[in-house]
């Protein structure tokens, strides 16, 4: 049985009267990559700060590797990359990384190895203010993994980066997950994270809108897949069962009924080469946001748990 890396139970947090998180619960097994998604102000940063021990929940409990998180933070087994970090402008890249390494008692050799690994060795004696956005982000990432953390929290690790730099960051994330680290990535770049994630948590106005694997999200969200084939027009006439799914020259079928539909198309209609378009994470996300919007417009409050 895999160990639980992060356990959040019935966590609520209020800033004065405003609710930032509301009765949030989820468990993240270790060695998995979880995408933390949500609109601006959904509570993602608040959640990250709670996991880091920088904020204490108004109610509920946050545990990291089975231990309650204290507000002092300072857990050597957690690595963190904040959003839009700019570091200390007057120091060099080597000095910045050495500083953070010294605070964790990590050797200079590790600093040199990481600078090499992240392609920053050539610029290590340059002032950080002369670094490009991509270089700063790589430096930040190297800082986050200094102690080979068991849990890594990355807040928008690829924002503002070119596609190549983003690929590099996600390649490194994948390597870390393969090596056993648990990673939480807070991002708006859904396409980039989709191919990597094991789990996704979607937050809306401080509440959990959805949590699970991509498959689970597709099933729970009543998302439709689309099946297309040139012969479908004629098949609908001879196979009335398909009529209920038919629209605009294709079949729109709930993801949960995929197997049944595919069997039917193969066995009953002898269709083997259909084109199937499965909804992606972005569609799930937008569907969840739309559902939340509708509930809000109807004046119905969101109940804890998935919608």
């Amino acid at each position: 049985m895999s160990q639980i890396a992060v356990s959040v139970r019935q966590v609520s947090h209020f800033f004065d009267e405003r609710s930032a998180l509301n009765e949030l619960s989820f468990s993240l097994p270790s060695g998995q990559l979880m995408a933390l998604l949500g609109h601006n102000g959904a509570g993602k940063s608040t959640l990250i700060k709670m996991i880091l021990g920088l904020l204490r929940p108004t109610s509920g409990e946050v545990n990291v590797f089975g231990r309650a998180v204290t507000t002092s933070g300072a857990m050597t087994e957690i690595g963190y990359l904040p959003e839009n970090i700019s570091f200390y402008d007057k120091l060099t890249g080597h000095e910045v990384l050495s500083y953070f390494a010294a605070l964790k008692g990590i050797s200079k050799q590790t600093v040199n190895r990481l600078l090499e690994e992240f392609g920053l060795a050539y610029a290590q004696h340059k002032s950080v203010k002369d670094y490009s956005k991509g270089m700063k982000q790589r430096l930040g990432f190297a800082q986050a993994i200094l102690a080979r953390p068991r849990l890594l929290l990355l807040d928008e690790p690829t924002v503002g980066l070119d596609p190549q730099a983003s690929q590099f960051i996600y390649h490194k994330i994948k390597q870390l997950v393969t090596q056993g680290s648990t990673v939480i990535v807070c991002t708006h770049e859904l396409q980039l994270v989709e191919s990597q994630l094991d789990l996704a948590l979607i937050l809306g106005r401080g509440r959990r809108l959805a949590f699970g694997t991509l498959d689970e999200l597709l099933h729970s969200g009543n998302m439709n897949l689309r099946v297309e084939h040139p012969r479908l027009d004629s098949l609908v006439v001879t196979h009335p069962l398909l009529k209920s799914f038919y629209a605009d020259g294709g079949l729109n079928c709930p993801v949960s009924q995929r197997e049944v539909l595919m069997k039917y198309l193969i066995l009953e209609c002898q269709l083997y080469d259909v084109k199937v378009s499965t909804p992606d994470l972005a569609q799930v996300y937008h569907a969840k946001m739309a559902q939340m919007q509708v509930l809000n417009e109807l004046g119905l409050s969101l109940t804890p748990g998935d919608i």
């Binding site: 920088l54 857990m75 970090i85 605070l103 964790k104």
Partner: protein, 282 residues
């Protein structure tokens, strides 16, 4: 997981202080501060007597009085320049939040920063005023070395305390401010109020009423403003004219009491700053 060597508390403070020191030494304001102190000290020593029509080195009390009068403006300003962004700057850069996820406490961060900023200002003060003392000892009017050392020792010690007080005031404002620009604005306003306006109000109070109650109040108000306290310590000890601080002499506020108040200020501010930092949400 890597094997991580656990650092002792003092080691972490040193790591922070060392980084802050590096950061400060590459700050152009530090060069400005050093230059100001040296120009100030040397000009007061060499040209202090020019106003009286002579070119000889002035007397010890006159140098101390001149340096005190100018330092009360310069030291707070230098401390503000160096430390106004100690916390708000890190917050804007995103490094404060990151630093707090490391195994280092808020108290260690505070002490580390204070150590570095004090080292820079103390070095500027000691080297510049120390050179003034050396010039007076070598080429002065023949005052005893012990007398010069004692007067300058007190001037340097009180200047360092004044710098520490304003570094801590800067930290407090920096912790309470949302932007660097606001921190600078607030601190300059505070500097103006404490160094100029406060003294003018004190003078007005003196002129308005010289009754016993008013004099007691003035003495108390002097203790409540670190810049007046600094002035009082150095002018009382140098036997120089006290101006608006004349009542101090009348009521014989002893030097140890003034020094005690000057030491109490940074301690209280350190306690307060730590409290604000600990309760601050990042």
């Amino acid at each position: 997981m890597l094997t991580i060597a656990k650092r002792p508390s003092l080691g972490l403070i040193w790591v922070i202080a060392n980084k802050e020191l590096k950061d400060s030494l590459r700050n152009r304001w530090v060069l400005v501060v050093f230059a100001i102190f040296w120009v100030l000290a040397l000009s007061m020593t060499f040209a202090g007597s020019a106003v009286s029509g002579t070119l000889a080195l002035p007397s010890l009390s006159s140098v101390i009085a001149s340096l005190t009068t100018v330092s009360v403006f310069i030291i707070p300003l230098a401390a503000i320049l160096l430390s106004h962004d100690a916390f708000v700057g890190e917050e804007e850069a995103g490094t404060l939040c990151l630093l707090l996820t490391y195994p280092v406490s808020k108290s260690q961060i505070l002490v580390g920063k204070l150590l570095a900023h004090c080292t820079v200002t103390f070095t500027a003060i000691t080297s510049s005023y120390g050179s003034s003392a050396a010039i007076l000892m070598l080429f002065g009017r023949g005052e005893a070395w012990e007398e010069i050392l004692s007067a300058f020792g007190l001037l340097i010690a009180s200047s360092c305390l004044l710098a520490t007080i304003f570094i801590l005031i800067s930290y407090l404002v920096s912790l309470k401010s949302a932007e660097k620009a606001r921190a600078v604005g607030s601190l300059l306003g505070l500097w103006f109020a404490l160094v100029l306006i406060y003294d003018l109000l004190l003078l007005a109070l003196l002129v308005a009423d010289l009754g016993y109650g008013s004099q007691w109040l003035v003495n108390l108000l002097i203790l409540l403003n670190p810049t007046d306290l600094y002035r009082a310590i150095n002018l009382v000890s140098a036997g120089a004219p006290l101006g608006s601080l004349g009542l101090l002499a009348q009521y014989e506020w002893s030097l140890p009491l003034l020094l005690g108040a000057c030491v109490a200020w940074p301690l209280l501010l350190l306690f307060w700053t730590r409290r604000v930092f600990i309760t601050k949400l990042v």
